[in-house]
């Protein structure tokens, strides 16, 4: 029975990453009503930038802790700039265009970023150097690594910080106001464009951290890594109720658990017909099931507007 506990641990780790990425989808959707399909590529760029900085700093024999922190910070900064740029270039000019137009530019941006990354970092898989020995711990029969513990803790901290920012700060209040009624927010003196830019940058910062996390956890990065991760995080956001921040976090963790438990037991359940390589299928079954049976997601509510 100890595989159960192991799969739960794995699911929580993966789910924490999904949650961070899903928050980016859901924040942008909440404020613009738009699915930023390029968001998965932002995660990839975060990972790639971190890789390069880490390689350079480690080659320069900087202390490991400093190297890791610096590379994370550079990745976060790069992704924030990227998120800002994506909104300015691909979405802002289409703010009043039909819904389909920004969706298509989103896919365009995604393809451009993938190809740029391929040109810069090549097609091959890169080993992501972690300059620490990754200690193993036993937890009720399951094995968990230092990196995994760090992933869960950092994700929790970041999510708590984000909730505080959004629900307790002046900036967060203006973000919620713009999401609900942009013209009324403008009447309060809110510069809507600035809030929208900040939202993209915030989501991209979370994406950069998530990119660093998956890279450190699996030890491998690749120019294509953002695609599947982005789709799954999008699924998590839909599962939780797109536009709902708590939903994105819950959806991420639930999807992580479904996937890892599914992968752990699919062999037994199908009498060996399917293997754990079918893991990715679960996310999309979940997506289809949610869209069919509960399109508003786990926590999404239909808020009836009062006149």
């Amino acid at each position: 029975m100890d595989i159960l506990f192991q799969q739960i641990v794995n699911g929580l780790v993966q789910g924490s990453v999904y949650a961070l990425v899903a928050l980016g989808y859901t924040m942008v959707y909440g404020i613009l009503g738009l699915i930023n399909f390029a968001h998965g590529e932002v995660v990839m760029v975060g990972a790639m930038v971190a890789l390069t900085v880490l390689q350079i700093l480690l080659a320069a024999a900087l202390s490991s802790v400093l190297a890791v922190l610096c590379s994370l910070m550079v990745a976060v900064a790069a992704c924030m700039a990227l998120g800002y740029g994506i909104e300015r270039v691909a979405y802002r000019p289409l703010r009043n265009a039909p819904r389909l137009a920004p969706l298509i530019t989103a896919i365009g941006v995604s393809i451009v970023l993938q190809n740029l990354a391929m040109m810069i970092w090549g097609r091959e898989y890169h080993a992501f150097p972690m300059p620490f020995s990754n200690g193993l711990h036993e937890l009720g029969g399951a094995i968990i690594t230092d990196v995994q513990i760090a992933i869960v803790l950092i994700a929790l901290l970041m999510m708590a910080g984000l909730m505080l920012l959004i629900h307790r700060s002046r900036f967060g209040r203006s973000m919620r106001a713009v999401a609900e009624n942009p013209s009324a927010a403008a009447l309060m003196g809110v510069d809507i464009n600035r809030v929208i830019s900040a939202t993209f940058m915030l989501g991209s910062a979370l994406a950069a951290v998530a990119g660093f996390m998956v890279s450190a956890n699996y030890g491998i990065v690749h120019y294509y890594m953002g695609f599947m991760l982005g789709l799954k995080a999008f699924t998590a956001a839909v599962l939780g109720g797109i536009g709902n921040l708590r939903g994105a976090m819950l959806g991420g963790v639930v999807l992580g658990l479904i996937e890892s438990l599914g992968a752990g037991y699919i062999g037994d359940l199908s009498g060996g017909f399917f293997g754990s390589n079918y893991q990715d299928v679960f996310a999309f079954f979940v997506l289809i099931a949610v869209l069919v049976f509960r399109p508003s997601g786990l926590l999404g509510e239909r808020v009836a507007e009062r006149a």
Partner: protein, 240 residues
């Protein structure tokens, strides 16, 4: 009669929605501390006028001057810090923010935190109903309470010119009386007010001057009492 420089001056303002000319060149002015009513029937262009003044709509032609400086190219969010506030038609409150948060949004452009808290308490004193419900989501309030939130929120920006778009719409007579009492109080404190109303009698009774808007053009203007007594207004808006 008005030696003072106007706080707001509008000349030949035109606005169109695609091919529809909603405002065909209107002139109006408001002196500091004045309460001016803008009346007219449905579709006359009253909301369009206020939206253009607040910067939510693009004007095709004309001039707007506020406090002596041109207003045309000032984006809407900067007009708030200049002293303009609009209580929009349909209130435009933030339903998923609490009452207190709605009022804090009103003070968004201000940074004097101490004074903001004092103003919050002033609003709760003005509208005790809101004080009891400060932690409640604004979307769960009654229509009248929401209108109080919308007015209090606009006052939180310390406006020099407060524009109200049909504040009495959909409210019970008691509530309308309360809202108009507040408008008079605010006016007495020296805030200039541009009041749009379908209820022409109420608006003209409260105002010092008035304008009558018909199909995008101003057809009558003058002292509120004169307008109230005029045959044209009596016939068209007061059902006499």
């Amino acid at each position: 009669m008005k030696p003072q420089l106007p706080l707001l001056e509008v000349n030949d303002l035109k606005v169109s929605y695609g091919g529809i000319h909603a405002l065909k060149g209107i002139d109006l002015h408001i002196a500091p501390g004045e309460l001016v009513a803008l009346i007219g029937s449905n579709g006359a262009g009253k909301t369009t006028t206020l939206k253009a003044l607040a910067g939510l709509l693009h004007c095709t032609a004309g001039k707007m001057h506020y406090d002596g400086s041109p207003l045309h190219h000032v984006p809407s969010h900067q007009r708030v810090s200049a002293g303009l506030a609009l209580v929009p038609e349909g209130r435009g409150i933030f339903a998923r923010l609490s009452v207190a948060e709605n009022l804090q949004m009103g003070a968004y452009t201000r940074s004097d935190d101490g004074q903001i808290s004092a103003d919050l308490e002033r609003m709760y004193a003005l509208f005790p109903r809101l004080a009891e419900r400060r932690a409640q989501l604004a979307g769960t309030l009654s229509g009248g309470e929401q209108q109080m939130v919308a007015i209090a929120r606009a006052l939180m920006s310390h406006p020099q010119l407060l524009m109200l778009d049909e504040p009495s719409m959909g409210l019970a007579p008691m509530m309308v009386a309360k809202i108009f009492e507040t408008i008079r109080e605010v006016s007495a404190q020296g805030v200039s007010i541009l009041l749009v109303e379908q209820n022409a009698k109420l608006a003209l009774e409260a105002a010092q001057r008035g304008y009558v808007l018909e199909s995008g053009a101003i057809t009558l203007s003058g002292e509120a009492s004169e307008l109230l007594g005029s045959d044209a207004v009596q016939r068209a808006y007061l059902g006499a």
